[in-house]
């Protein structure tokens, strides 16, 4: 697919013997030298695997007979038809988690940026604190929190909230674990800091005098938020939603640990194709299609957010 075109033509690492008096030329080359480590990194860890996977995705064969590049594009179509539900589910879960992250993260970032006073740094550390434990352990902890006989479930049950969520189809059988609710909660929890930090940094930069100016010009506090604060923080919103949505849609840990087979996301399928079933071509094709889907969604989103009439 489109990704194939990223195959690079070997880096033009042209290092000419410097003729005397060519200091100016050497200076012009400095930026390229500075870029070199980054470019090498990308070549080794991004471009090369991409090419490799791209070729894998059009191979046929089996583990025993070995795989051959046969330009068998039908793998893409077959894989898509078989797993389209998983794509849809991934995008929906990631979308909901992103919206939840925004809903939880924006007020939090706003408070830290404008209202926290001397608690600001403490709160920021608390936002980042979960990173001190591994992703896996944090997700496992949620398994305990949402356990069937745990406090959360008991309380939710007593309050009849589980009946409500069950009728919405996001929980079942008086349990939270192994339901869509648990997976989305896990995703939201795990990616929340990626939403809060860019939001905070874009809010924190806003000159408080702009709020005063808006108030002075007859805007009530909420109007000030709608017409001044929020539009100015939009770059943070865009960055935060991307940093949340993109990894969340490819995630498989949350669905694996907190969900049941019927909450599996596309990441789970790819993971099992690669590591359990060892069907490399299908796994590679699925990966490329996920990447393409995300690219399309993100570029439409950025285009829209960028040109949106804000007044």
């Amino acid at each position: 697919m489109a990704a194939l075109s990223t195959a690079p033509a070997g880096a033009p690492a042209e290092v000419p013997p410097v003729p005397p008096g060519a200091a100016a030329r050497r200076r012009r080359l400095v930026p390229y030298w500075l870029l070199l480590p980054g470019i090498l990194w990308l070549l080794v860890f991004f471009a090369a695997p991409m090419v490799y996977q791209a070729s894998t995705s059009v191979q046929t064969g089996s583990l025993e007979t070995g795989y051959q590049v046969t330009w068998h594009f039908a793998t893409y179509w077959d894989a898509f038809r078989e797993y389209d539900v998983f794509y849809l589910r991934s995008l929906i879960y990631a979308g909901i988690a992103t919206v939840l992250c925004l809903a939880i993260g924006y007020p939090l970032a706003y408070t830290i940026a404008f209202k926290a006073g001397r608690w600001r740094n403490v709160l920021l550390v608390m936002v980042i604190a979960p990173f001190f434990t591994s992703f896996l352990i944090r997700t496992l902890a949620w398994k305990t929190i949402l356990a069937d006989d745990g406090y959360v479930v008991t309380v939710l049950d007593k309050l009849h909230i589980l009946n409500v969520t069950a009728s919405l189809g996001i929980t079942a059988d008086d349990r939270v674990l192994a339901t869509p609710l648990a997976v989305v909660c896990g995703l939201t929890y795990n990616f929340l800091p990626f939403m809060i930090l860019p939001l905070y940094s874009s809010l924190e930069r806003i000159d408080p005098r702009l709020h005063e100016a808006a108030g002075d010009l007859y805007a009530r506090p909420f109007t000030t938020f709608r017409k001044v604060t929020f539009p100015i923080s939009l770059p943070g919103v865009v960055a935060g939603t991307l940093l949340t949505f993109i990894p969340a849609s490819g995630d498989y840990i949350n669905a694996e640990l907190l969900g049941s087979p019927s909450e599996q996301m596309i990441g789970n399928v790819i993971q099992s194709k690669f590591l359990t079933v060892l069907d490399y071509p299908t796994a590679a094709a699925l990966s490329f299609m996920l990447m393409a889907a995300i690219l399309v969604i993100v570029s439409v989103y950025i285009r829209k957010a960028g040109t949106e009439e804000l007044v």
Binding site: E212, G215, D216, L217, Y218, A219, V228
Partner: protein, 394 residues
């Protein structure tokens, strides 16, 4: 300084309209404390409608705080703010009929110039803003830049947008917090005239905060001089300049020579003073404290009121002038005038500004000179003050 009388002669609008009319600002006991630091001591002040009022003072004296209390951006620790007939003390900013031009403009970076200017109208639900916005942009001569973002404008242009954005709402009072502070001298002069023109055109009460005494004098018809959270003196620019009542005002507004003297007696309407072994006279009416013979006094005279002659020509000085002899320690040629610093045994560093009409070649540093001025140009201040208060180290 002569043209400053003009705005006075042409009636401050407040004289026509009683203070109760729309745009008068009345502060009663208005004060602000931060913890145990008093930023603004309780002050009483009436700003007549339609006047161009300047709040002048050194950095940190509480000008911005006062302005912010009028705008509703700061809660006063005590006292009330009235605008026209309305007590607005408890009202949030968006309910007050005031608009502010902020110290550094605070233009909305995400909106273009047109939308910045239209902001206030839109918030008040005005349907068709186009005509008004265009008219306002014409007034500040920015019509052609309507679709630019604030960061694409020069400092002076941004400043005009800030004025337009506030003025378009036809506030009863426009508050300006050092709006010209960031501009270079030339642009500053230009904008001063422009603001003055706009104010005359729209007739709104302007309260202008500045620490530039020249700016206050060229623009305002009333100046309040603030010092350390208090208003030291309030009046027309000429009045403040000619009749300062404190050493702070005498030194801060223009430059003054303050001479430590002792009251020797009276002669008719004049007070006789002794300075060392010399004698000075001044009108009793121009003496701020009431004094008796033997009391100490600060005799003040503005540098441009003093004439300077070489000691050899001392005989030419007419009778009845205040005279002091001394030696020139510094002379700087400014163009229109020459500024001399003269040391006399009784009063060091007297400043003298002499017009360059016929320059006397003998007046160079080291020359012995006689300084003389009319007793009527002398004012008297309470000696129990810091003689250097408000001095600007130029």
């Amino acid at each position: 300084m002569t043209q400053q009388t003009a705005p006075l002669a042409d009636e401050p609008a407040g004289a026509r309209n009683p203070a109760s009319a729309g745009g008068a600002v009345t502060l009663t006991g208005l004060g602000k404390e931060y913890g145990d630091f008093t930023a603004v001591h309780p002050l009483d002040l009436t700003i007549p409608e339609g006047s161009f009022f300047a709040l002048l003072g050194a950095s940190g004296c509480g000008k911005t705080t006062t302005l912010r209390m009028i705008a509703g951006l700061e809660d006063p620790s005590g006292g009330t703010v009235r605008i026209g007939d309305q007590d607005v003390t408890g009202l949030p900013p968006y309910k007050r009929p005031v608009n502010t031009v902020f110290q550094n403009y605070a233009l909305f970076p995400h909106l273009d110039i047109y939308e910045n200017v239209a902001f206030g109208l839109r918030r008040r639900g005005v349907k068709s803003v186009k005509g008004q916005v265009e008219e306002m942009l014409e007034l500040v001569e920015l019509g052609h830049l309507a679709r630019r973002k604030p960061h694409q404008l020069s400092g002076g242009q941004q400043q005009r947008v800030a004025v337009a954005r506030a003025l378009i709402n036809h506030p009863k009072v426009l508050l300006l917090d050092e709006p010209l502070g960031a501009l270079d001298l030339k642009l500053r002069r230009q904008m001063q005239l422009e603001l003055k023109r706009i104010q005359t055109e729209v007739g709104i009460t302007f309260v202008h905060v500045t620490h530039d005494q020249e700016e206050a004098m060229t623009m305002a018809d009333t100046i309040a001089v603030m010092n350390a959270g208090r208003i030291e003196q309030l009046g027309a620019p000429t009045d403040l300049y000619e009749n300062p009542r404190t050493t702070f005002v005498a030194n801060f507004l223009g430059q003054s020579n303050l001479i430590e003297a002792q009251v020797a007696g009276t002669s008719g309407d004049d007070l006789l003073l002794s300075v060392g072994d010399g004698r000075l006279a001044m009108p009793t009416a121009r003496c701020v404290p009431s004094v008796r013979a033997g009391d100490k006094l600060l005799a003040g005279v503005r540098p441009e009121k003093i004439s300077i002659v070489h000691a050899d020509d001392a005989a030419e000085v007419p009778e009845g002038r205040n005279k002091i002899t001394g030696r020139i320690v510094d002379a700087s040629f400014i163009g229109v005038s020459t500024q001399y610093v003269v040391n006399s045994p009784w009063c060091p560093e007297l400043a003298v500004f002499a017009q360059n009409v016929e320059r006397d070649g003998r007046l160079v540093p080291g020359a012995e000179v006689v300084l003389h001025w009319s007793p009527a140009h002398t004012f008297g201040l309470d000696a129990a003050q810091d003689i250097e208060a408000g001095e600007v180290n130029a």
